[in-house]
Subunit: 215 residues, 2 copies
DNA sequence: TAGATTGTTAATCGATTAACAATC
DNA sequence: TAGATTGTTAATCGATTAACAATC
């Protein structure tokens, strides 16, 4: 079997975004070379990625942008609106509910759940409901994707409630590794880790520079 | 020169976090094997990572947890508090300012900057100041790390203001690639991309399952 | 000492890049 | 047709894993 690694799928998203920009500029077809430039990879990488997903172009004619966008949208599940729930109506959960960027990507946060009665609000545009109601809601609406925005201590339990309700993919903002149920995927967004990593590289660059002047 | 890749540095953070947990459980020393279990890698990976950074243990005696934490903290720049600024006092910027998780990692958001006068607030525990004041503030306080939490259209300009003020590392929440200044690092947190990627894998798993039953 | 663990070297694995035949 | 571009195969590169000598 052919291996389609995670980076490859991430690149598909980037190609898709670049294609939208190129289309907006009036382009109708594109070569692997153009797309490579737009995304910052090599053209052979583009062609390789496409061939892994069975996406073909025309020898000497490149790729039709519209058809290409459609194929990528299909692969990435963007041909239908994706409903997502959030667990945790704290600062991050609330920011995500209010964030406008998801809409244009066909992603809609349809509800938030919390255990704190003070945070509940049925009448919000995106309702904030008691965690008890999660299971029924998710089953009813056949939701597959959830976001964890609770404190780390509550995260594993939140994950288990979500898995038992039928959620298959989690985006986890709690700074800890969660155990995934069979057949489920977890992507982690660990802000502390990102900043810590950034600090390391800034320090390294800084030391390299000081070293350069000193030597 | 030895290559210390990005994954390796991320693992150092994970080792450090695992060591804190082990220490809290009363352990004083640890073997590469234990640490590997705790983080979910192989013991040879742990020893390799340590050797890349010149961290040694005792043959047959493992590693002293306290000494190891100290070395990792030193490498990761955690021996001093790291001051960070945020640009953009929107939903995400505000959530980050209120987020409690950074403190225990020695990361402190010291100010936020925005162009919208309505968002300014000098008297906040974390003041929200006009973008005009960023440069002086950053130079004065010798801040090296910044977070971009503005809409994508404003992100590149925000980055340039920050670079020109002396910021060397950016955590970028705007869903677009930014051009980094020489000697600067950018880590991207692209929420749309994370969700899109998650949706792909959930669909793949789902199709695989249906396939399994159908065949 | 015997047994266990490190530190390093060699082997493997997987992803990226280069090369080029096919062909439009 | 000649030239350009795809699609695929082979080469390279880098990271992970395995193996094992050194040694506590």
């Amino acid at each position: 079997m052919v291996t389609t690694n995670k980076n490859c799928v991430l690149r598909l998203s980037r190609y898709k975004n670049a294609l939208h920009r190129l289309k907006a500029l009036g382009f109708v077809k594109v070569f692997s070379d153009n797309l490579a430039d737009a995304v910052g990879v090599l053209s052979s990488q583009v062609r390789k990625d496409f061939s892994l997903f069975g996406i073909g172009g025309n020898k000497r004619g490149g790729y039709q942008i519209d058809a290409l966008i459609e194929k990528l949208n299909n692969i990435l599940g963007k041909d239908q609106q994706q409903k997502v729930i959030v667990v945790g109506a704290g600062h991050i959960g609330t920011a995500l509910m209010k964030y406008k960027g998801f809409e244009k990507e066909g992603i809609k946060i349809v509800a938030c759940f919390d255990i704190d009665p003070a945070k509940l609000n049925k009448n919000n545009p995106i309702p904030v409901l008691p965690l008890d109601e999660l299971k029924e809601f998710v089953k009813d609406k056949d939701i597959k994707i959830g976001i964890i925005a609770v404190p780390d201590i509550a995260a594993q339990q939140a994950a288990e409630v979500m898995f038992s309700a039928g959620i298959k993919g989690l985006l986890n903002f709690a700074p800890m590794r969660l155990k995934a149920a069979e057949d489920c995927v977890i992507n982690n967004v660990n802000l502390e880790l990102e900043l810590e990593n950034l600090i390391y590289y800034v320090n390294v660059l800084n030391k390299a520079k000081i070293g350069k002047f000193a030597v």
